[in-house]
Symmetry: C2
Subunit: 389 residues, 2 copies
């Protein structure tokens, strides 16, 4: 009974706290997701210490992120993503090269080791599309060309980020194995392109089989199985699970209306996603900021992380005009959970100091908190531009 009580108490605090601050932030015209992050910081170990990450809440956060990207995928038709393919690639590549270079050289200049410098550079590469996707969805502009460039670039970005992460992991063991690195990269790119080009067609072929199923709401159950299955495949290939969830949504997007998949997946996402964002906030350790000189390094790394993505990705999207280039650059700024994964990998491999871990953690969170309100300021108003192009 005590265990059950603790489980329900954690869920209640995280969900109610997140939703309460989300509402407060909405009232001040700030993104709801920042409210949920702040709720996590307040409820977490640094301040009230009412919640702390455990196996259950971390698992719920993971499932929340999976459903978040799944619903984003469901709203993204493959055809639309392919239309922006070249520009998205350019945005992603410039948004990887510039942040890595800037982060690496800054850390070398202030006399950090080669490995630590590569590690900080690698953490600055990642993009957490989940948070931007939520801001875009809240603003009702998910179907615009600009949003599609961001989502497409984020997918490519994650593939590139995965390669960089593989390099960092192999560095710690002494040397880079170019062959296995090439295999991992090839698998990841091949997997994504395969689903992008053929996923929707395969799902279409299964229509008669789905119609014969007896279970209630069988199409939704099957879509969840596909989502979990591709998430699992992503993890085995070496990418984040959320990439597979996004690809599953993509493969189902053309059939979403027929099977009422969005109506079914959205409530699950709305229940689970707050656990992801609240826990992201709860992982902030405010005490670790007391180290001398650390604040300065954090400020510089944060500024460089923001500017390098803004300029790199913005340059890649300049053809769409200054305004959309700015929006795309800002949309790519949040590092979120992807930066945190890099930080966790570095700490586990014992290649970086605790201080650098704190820097990367702070950078992930600051870019995540910074981008949404600014992005919101420059997004088109709901009535200025129609949501459905």
């Amino acid at each position: 009974m005590e265990h059950a009580g603790n489980v329900v108490l954690d869920l209640f605090l995280m969900f109610a706290g997140g939703k309460f601050l989300a509402e407060v932030f909405e009232r001040f015209r700030q993104p709801a997701v920042v409210g949920e992050l702040v709720a996590g910081i307040i409820l977490g170990p640094s301040l009230l210490a009412l919640i702390k990450p455990n196996e259950l809440t971390l698992g719920l956060a993971e499932i929340g992120a999976i459903f978040l990207l799944f619903t984003v995928g469901l709203e993204t038709k493959p055809r639309d993503l392919l239309q922006v393919g070249w520009m998205a690639s350019l945005v992603a590549i410039l948004g990887v090269v510039l942040p890595f270079a800037v982060g690496f050289f800054y850390m070398r200049v202030i006399d950090h080791s080669m490995i630590e410098s590569i590690f900080v550079g690698a953490a600055m590469v990642a993009t957490s599309v989940g948070i931007t996707a939520r801001v875009l969805a809240d603003a009702g502009v998910l179907s615009t060309r600009m949003a599609r460039v961001i989502l497409g670039a984020a997918v490519i970005d994650d593939i590139l980020g995965m390669i960089v992460l593989a390099v960092v992991s192999s560095l710690s063991s002494g040397k880079v194995n170019y062959l296995s690195l090439g295999i991992v990269a090839g698998e990841a790119i091949g997997f994504s392109l395969l689903i992008l080009f053929f996923g929707s067609r395969v799902v279409g072929r299964l229509r008669p089989a789905v119609a014969r199923l007896r279970a209630r709401n069988a199409a939704f159950a099957l879509s969840v199985i596909l989502c979990l299955g591709l998430s699992l495949a992503s993890v085995y290939i070496g990418m984040a699970a959320i990439i597979g969830a996004f690809l599953a949504g993509l493969a189902l997007a053309d059939h979403s209306e027929q099977y009422r998949l969005q109506e079914n997946a959205h409530p699950v996402m709305e229940f689970l996603a707050p656990f992801f964002f609240v826990l992201l906030g709860a992982q902030v350790n405010l005490q670790s900021l007391n180290q001398p000189g650390l604040i300065g390094t954090i400020v510089w790394v944060c500024v460089l992380a923001i500017l390098s993505k803004l300029i790199g990705c913005g340059l890649g999207a300049l053809k769409l005009g200054y305004r959309d280039a700015l929006r795309i650059g800002l949309g790519m700024v949040p590092r979120g959970e992807v930066g945190l994964i890099v930080a966790a990998v570095g700490l586990r491999l014992h290649t970086v100091s605790e201080a650098i871990y704190t820097v990367v953690l702070a950078m992930s969170i600051m870019t995540t908190i910074f981008a949404p309100p600014v992005l919101r300021l420059v997004l088109p108003k709901r009535d200025e531009e129609p949501a459905k192009a």
Copy 2:
């Protein structure tokens, strides 16, 4: 990354395995929920050993049960439940007294200790309404008078079961404290009646405040907060969390259509409930059946558990005619997770032997597997009786 892979693998195996066997069982005209239980036995430690209960999957199962009872509550209007109040009380009381007496005396006859006999009797008292509710929902008869008697009796039954559980827990510490026992029972009964009579009215009063909220789908978020909040209150009072979830659904049932709560809560339940049923199956340890004489005791306890509920509850509902009395008796047979909670409490308090723990576990599972297919055989056909009375 490895951790994320394990999490997603567990989810995939449990969800896909459960849904696959649910479909197979549906094809043989058996309840889907038994398919999910069998999937758990096959995937669990006894056979394939592909999944095992851990903090995350146990937590998901708990949330699954909470959402299951929440959606059942959403479909139960308080007025309808009050209409069957007296009969439900009679069904519940006879369904508690007879199983306890039968279980207690049988164990005494085969020479078990006083405490072990009380413990087995207590485990035979509980009713797991979740499984029956799913069978009733699948058959489309949730709104019939018979279904309402079962749901009402199960609520009262859980309150009585909680009192019996409190007695068992206090027995292990030497003596029964009648005063604290009375306080716990009074709180539980008062809490349930309070929400039954006033919950719906309070929710109605909040309508203008809900209309002013800015967040997307704010009514659903609020309903989840109420569900988790009342679940938490139930745990603190000493009842199972699912009772609070059911009461929250009950308080919201009159407003469910206006806020589209069922459309939102159902997909969450459909995603999470399979984890509850699959894990219930995964907790079966087939190896522990090797003890000499244990099979005989299990068979006897199972037969007595089924007959005593069937006769006790059936007698209470005889006024509705033999057919509905039989349905109600069968609907009250599954002990499910409530029996398992009693078993776990007994084992933790070290008042009972491992063998008796196995007996109670087997009884909980056998009654749960036995009742749904038999109940399904005697339920009215969808076209024989209109679903909405």
